[in-house]
Each structure stands twice: as structure tokens, then as C-alpha cells.
Amino acid sequence: MSAVTKTNTGPALQLPEKTYLNSTYGIRSWLLTTDHKRIALLYLISVTFFFFIGGFFAMMIRLHLLTPSGYLLSADTYNRMFTMHGVTMIFFFLIPSIPAILGNFLIPLMIGAKDLAFPKINLLSWYIYIIGGSFTLYSMITGGLDTGWTFYTPLSTVYSNSAVAPAVVGVFITGFSSILTGLNFLVTVHTMRAPGMTWFRLPLFVWAHYATSVVMILGTPVIAITLGLAAMERVFGLGFFNPAMGGDPILFQHLFWFYSHPAVYIMILPAMGVISELIPTFARKKLFGYHFVAAASLAIAVIGFLVWTHHMFLTGQSTYSAVAFSFLTFLVAIPSAIKTFNWTATLFGGSISFDTPMLYAFGFLGLFLVGGLTGLFLGCLGIDMHVHDTYFVVAHFHYIMVGGAVMGYLGGLHFWWPKITGRMYPEWIARIAALVLFVGFNLTFFPQFVLGYLGMPRRYHVYPPEFQVYNVMSTAGASILAIGYLLPMVYLTWAAFYGKVAGNNPWPATGLEWTTQSPPLTENFEVTPVVTWEAYDFHNRPELGLDVPGHTGSPTVAPAHGDD
């Protein structure tokens, strides 16, 4: 740990005697646990497993695309690989990751509760995730799925010769895991806040998950029924989406995207919530514009439901409809912009350190900036008519999903690792890994913007030779990216057992979760806390042991450090 963040230089710390990790032993106490913290760890293991599977497919894709004629895989195998990469990463990694791991672990701690509102339903949601995942694994083992993760009809329901039904059933089932998690969070935040924890004292991580949960419960049932209908069509030959029987393939697209667009906000809002925790903590000041950031999260959730047709600008639908949805798409960008400006403004007047979580936060800022801005290109009708369904789209969403969501996820994992495990990760290798990730990521995905504008369509197993240079760059970046991901897997696991004992609040940070021991007790707090301070208030928390100037909470600008 760097010198600027150490606030106590006393004797080496010891792990607390009783924690949620050692309160009970045995495999049954883990598989039948209702402790939100243990469930979070169950999710951590299973989500990481699926991340590796999705990552394996990604490596195969990039290796295969090194050459224009693609000697590595056959067309069918490649098509299955990119489909399974999408299905695995979206439904089994991105959607659950931050909410089911960090959200589950932290929300009760952050609001001063002993657990979530429905602990057994929490466990149930993990089992549903495992069952859904098993169906999808079964689909992979029996040859995989080759329809693209978007399952467009009638390709998926009539023409595909791959394991469509088990994969669709798997995703259908996993949707309920998402719904139950969202339900749990919504109710918890409404009814389980400790005394004094008013809505506007909540950490923005909680606001972000609240907004995410709204999207989860309103959107996920729609993909469930859509996939249900698609499965019925595939297995029983019904005709809703099959033109040969009077059905309409575009109806499928509307129903599919009605969920799948808000789904991308399920993936990014929690990451934004993490960033809203990291920046105030490592700048040691309140988040600039707290209320605006909270409101922006809700705005993203709501407006996010109104833009789905921007995935369908070129299906031949009404021009009016396209214009309307393009307009709405530009509107949904504004709250994200507001958040980005507020995060940046938080840096001013701060006392900034560059620990690993903060490096991830900076990485997020830069990459989300690119990803979000390139969304504007796609929402702009006059540009989308050229780059729709090209690598421009692929680059855009990877900047947001990987550059944004995964950076947020890793930043959060590092930040809360001491709270989860009681031990600190090794700082210098973590910083190196973060930088490797950043470099590898940009090299992988920036060339894809160019490829897209040049006209390389997505989901191509072979391509015209003039596109090779950028593809080679992209694959080179992917190998660096892979190293960047493997490093944290290794050292975080090592740190969980052998890292330096961290103590209650190593950073120090202001959230309620940092007022208890690390790792926490099973019941989180021995005595229910009573909250009297605002979020990220470094000035009125003497117990943090920091050098606070004489002011007690008046919002004037007090220069807290020397000159430049």
C-alpha cells in the first residue's frame, strides 16, 4: 500500500475472531446459506466461471480472425463461438456481476441492515442462475448455438440446426434470477434502512442498484415471455414470428429489444454506482452534484425503456418511428453525460490518491467517454445507415461493457476486497494489471471502429483481405487484455488467503460498511447503527482519523492542501 493512504502505523492488525466466513463450517452451511455475504461469494465463483468460458470463446474468435480466410475454425464453429460468447458474457457475466456479487454483499451493510429483505429468495436466485447456466452449458456441450445472442427469427426458430431450445430455456430461467435479485433490492432499500439513513444520505451505489432493479423487474419478464414464445415456436411450430405462417419476424425484434436495450443499462448502472463510490473515496470529498447523479440514474432507467427501436433503424419500419426513436436515443445520452461531468468535477478541490481502485475509476471515465460518445454516432440516423451491424457497433458496446462495466466491476472488487476477505491485495501488481488492461483494451477495440466505418460487417468468419491489418491489431490487443484479466484472478485469490490484514477501514472511506469489522460478522452489525452524517462526508467523521480543517459541514470551498 502506498504511503499516502496509510492512516495508522501501529502494530500489525489481526483478523477478527468471528466473521461471516468462519461462523459455520461445511459445504452445507455454504450451499444452504441465507447470508447475503456468502451468497455473494457463491455468485463470485459461478460468475467468474462463466467469465472464463465467455473469455475462451473471445480468444478463439480473435485468433481465428487473424487471417482473412480463417483457417482455424469452420464457419459453423465460428458462428457458434461468437454466439456463445455473447450469450455467456451478457446473461451469465455482465448482468449478474456487480449486482449479484457486490450489490448482494454491500447493500445491507451500506444501509445498516442485517441482511436483505428476503434472504431465502436471494439463495433461490443463485440456484436459478445455476440451473439456467446448466441448460446453457448443455447447449454448448451438444454443439452450441449459432443464431447470434439476439436469436433473430426465423433463423433461430426455423432454420438453425443448432441447440437453440436448451440455450433459450437456459436464458429464460436465468431471467428469473435477475428478477428476484431486483425485487429483493427494491424492497430492501424501501423498508430496511437503518434509523437516520434517509434517501438522500444513501450511497450512490445504492441509488444505482435501485435504478437497476427497476429496470430488472420491468424489463426481464418481457424477454422471458419473448424467449418462451420463441421456444414454443421452435419446438411446437407455432407461427408468431414465422412469415411462412403469417407471423412477423419484426415483432420478435420489438419484443426482444424492449428488454435487451434496458438490459444494457442493467449492465452499466451498477458500474456507474461503483465509480460514484470510488471517486469520492479517493478524492476524499463529497461527490459533486449528489442529487443530480441520483436523479440521472433514475432518468437513465426510465428513458432507457423508450429507445429500443434504435436497434431496428434499418428493418424497413416507418421513417417517423425511426426519427422518434433517434430523438429519444439522444435524450438518454444526457443523464450519462451529466454523471460524467459530475464525476470529473468531484476531482476539483480533492485530495487524490492513485490506488488501484482509483486507476480503474479513471480508466472507466476515459473508456466510458468513448463508448458513450460513439453511442451518439449510432443513434444518429444518417450515420447508422452506414455502420449498423458493422464492427463499429461491436467496438461501441465493448467500450461500454468492457471498458465501462468490467472496469467498474474490477475497481469495485479491489476496493471492497479488504472488506470481503479482511485482507488487502498487493498494490503494485494490481496497478500494473490495471494499466495492462487499459492498454490491451484500447488496442483490441479501437481498430474495430475503423473496421466498422470501412464497412466490415459483424459476425463474419471470413473477410476481405484489405481488413486484415486492423484485425491483427485487434487480436494483438486481445492477448494483452487476456493477461490483464488473468493477473487479478491470480493475485486476488492469493490475497484472500495471504494478503496483509486490512483492518476495518484501510482507505479510509465513509460508507457504513466500513464502520464494521473486516470481514463482517454474519449479522453485519452488533448494534443497529444510527446515521447522522451525509454521504461521503469526510469533514464530520473524526473517527476516520484524517486531518480535517476547522469547518463543520458548511459548504464553502476550503483549500485542504498546499499550493501547486
Binding site: 412469415p243 480533492g350 444518429c380 480535517v548
Partner: protein
């Protein structure tokens, strides 16, 4: 695609400069703000870096004017981007009335195009320079998409409905077109070339009905027309064996016997494909009984004969491994 590191495709239609213009506007605006925010963040990161372990930041919480400012200004800029893009798109979706109409049918995994006078093309589109062209798009099976990067236009091809796409070619040359909506196994090879010709040359090409009398060339056309090419890929990676070098060679069958691939064998393979299955392949070839005349079989045979000199792939050839295969 001249330089080793290209960024833009050719601008070959009326839409290309319009799309490029709105793209550049959005690009430069976004670049400006991205660089601005990045520099501001880097500046703040350095200016306000921590200088002592216990140091905290200021009590600054927010600023209403700033919030309003950075909400309204991006909103206004976004509206300009939206409006400019919408104008280009509406133009694209509103075909003029004086178009030359070409019918396009997409199917797994080829394109069939028909010129106004009935002349047909496979995976090729010839158009005259500076005429308004409208493509009427239909699909026989799944959703496809007809995309010409140099023209900056694309449109989904949806089964059960017709979609239209219009453009005016403004530059002579040959340009890629691609299928741009994932449609199954050979989605990536389902493309071809758009050739923009001088109007006089186009007229001459259009009225040239005679075509080739050479049987091998006629056979080659049939080979594509009847979609043989979608399975019998020359490089051996298709669902069916490559036919390079097969004429006259010994073929290893699934039941372990070998047979010489002469004219009779080829004819039987076309009319009764399940009679003799090549080792390592599935009996999925449909029969062309009733779909081809004897003359057409002769032309196909002549074409396959002409493939004798083509390189035989190491894997996926119809040629038996034990024989030398070459004549």
C-alpha cells in the same frame, strides 16, 4: 482502399458525402468534448493530488449553474446531431420517382438480382453511373441485409415483406457489397461486387442476351445458379467435397469402395446423389432430377472437367487419398 491504413471507404454514391459529412461533424464534436473532459480530469488529478497521508478534500458539494450548463449545452448539441442525421436518413428512405428498379432476392447464401429488362445476375450488380437506382429487396428464408459500404447504404431484407433501398452511383468502379445481417453458416461469403458502369456501356451490357456458347462457361453459370457452389467449395471447407481435380480421378466412397469419377459418375451424382456418398460426408445433397435438362448436365460436366487443373485441397477433396488424383 489504397493506403495500408485506410480509414474511409470510397465515396461512390450521392449519400456517401452526406453520411461522411454528418459523421465528421459528430466525430469532431465528440472528439472536442472527449479531449476537453480528459484534459480537465488529468489536470485536476495532478493539481489536486494528495500531498500528505491524512489530507482530505474540500467541502465543495455542487453548483446549480454548472449542472444546468452541462445539461443544456450537450442537449442542444445532441439535437443538432439528431436533426442533421435525420435529414440524411429521411432523404435515404424517400426514394425519388424516376428510379431504375432492380429486384433483389436474398437467400441462404447468395443473392439473385434481376435487372429491369429481366436480365439476371448472381452475386453481382451492374448499375449505370448517375442514375437513381432503387433496389426492391425480398428474402426467401431468413433476414439478410444488402450493404454497399462505398455507397454508405444498407437495408434489411426481411422474409414476408418487401423493403426498398435507393442510391445514385457517382463514381465508376467495382465496390464490395455484403450481407449485413447474420443469416447462418455462410453469412460472411454472401456478398459480391457492384459494378458502376458508364451508361452507354451499361445499356450495351444489359441488352447482351447471347452470353457464352462455351459449355464449360455455361456450366460454370449453372454451377452458381443452382447453388452447387454453396456446398462444393473449392477449398474443401464446405459441406460437400471440393470438385477440383476430381474428373477422372478415383473417389473413395463411404462404403469403402473406390470408383472412377467419369461422366457417368458425375451424371449419377447430380440425379441420384444418395447412390454413392463420398467418404466423410453426409448424404445431404438434394437431387436435381427434373430440375436440369440433359444439355445442362453436359454443361455442368464440362465445367467440372475444367476444374481438373485447379489445386486439390489437402482436406475435403472428392479425390481418394490413395490415388495421385492428377491427370
Amino acid at each position: 482502399m489504397q493506403s495500408p491504413l485506410p480509414f474511409f471507404p470510397d465515396e461512390a454514391s450521392n449519400f456517401a458525402p452526406k453520411v461522411d459529412a454528418v459523421f465528421m461533424f459528430v466525430l469532431l464534436t465528440c472528439l472536442f468534448f472527449a479531449v476537453l473532459v480528459t484534459l480537465v480530469a488529468i489536470y485536476a488529478a495532478f493539481k489536486y493530488r494528495r500531498t500528505s497521508p491524512g489530507q482530505v478534500g474540500s467541502a465543495l458539494e455542487g453548483n446549480l449553474l454548472l449542472e444546468i450548463g452541462w445539461t443544456v449545452i450537450p442537449l442542444l448539441i445532441a439535437m443538432v446531431m439528431f436533426a442533421w442525421g435525420a435529414v440524411v436518413y429521411v432523404n435515404f428512405r424517400t426514394a425519388p420517382t424516376d428510379t431504375l428498379d432492380i429486384y433483389v432476392v436474398g437467400k441462404q447464401w447468395m443473392w439473385k438480382l434481376q435487372q429491369p429488362n429481366g436480365k439476371r445476375e448472381i452475386n453481382e450488380l451492374h448499375v449505370p453511373l448517375n442514375r437513381n437506382i432503387k433496389l426492391i429487396l425480398g428474402s426467401e428464408d431468413v433476414i439478410h441485409n444488402f450493404y454497399v459500404p462505398a455507397f454508405r447504404v444498407k437495408m434489411d431484407v426481411v422474409p414476408g415483406r418487401y423493403n426498398t433501398l435507393w442510391f445514385r452511383p457517382t463514381k465508376l468502379g467495382k465496390y464490395h457489397f455484403f450481407c449485413s445481417q447474420y443469416c447462418g453458416t455462410n453469412h460472411a461469403v454472401m456478398g459480391g461486387w457492384v459494378t458502376v458502369m458508364d451508361p452507354a456501356e451499361y445499356a450495351a451490357w444489359l441488352s447482351n442476351e447471347a452470353g457464352d456458347v462455351n459449355p464449360a462457361s455455361a456450366g460454370e453459370k449453372l454451377f452458381t445458379q443452382l447453388a452447387c457452389v454453396t456446398c462444393h467449395l473449392g477449398n474443401g471447407t464446405g459441406r460437400a467435397p471440393s470438385l477440383n481435380g476430381v474428373y477422372g480421378a478415383k473417389v473413395l466412397l463411404a462404403d469403402g469402395t473406390t470408383v472412377t469419377a467419369d461422366d457417368a459418375y458425375l451424371r449419377e451424382s447430380i440425379l441420384q446423389p444418395k447412390a454413392k456418398i463420398v467418404a466423410g460426408y453426409q448424404p445431404v445433397m438434394p437431387t436435381f432430377q427434373g430440375l436440369v435438362t440433359e444439355e445442362q448436365i453436359l454443361n455442368l460436366t464440362a465445367y467440372i472437367k475444367s476444374l481438373q487443373s485447379q489445386p486439390v485441397p489437402a482436406k475435403g477433396a472428392g479425390v481418394a487419398p490413395a490415388s495421385t488424383g492428377k491427370k
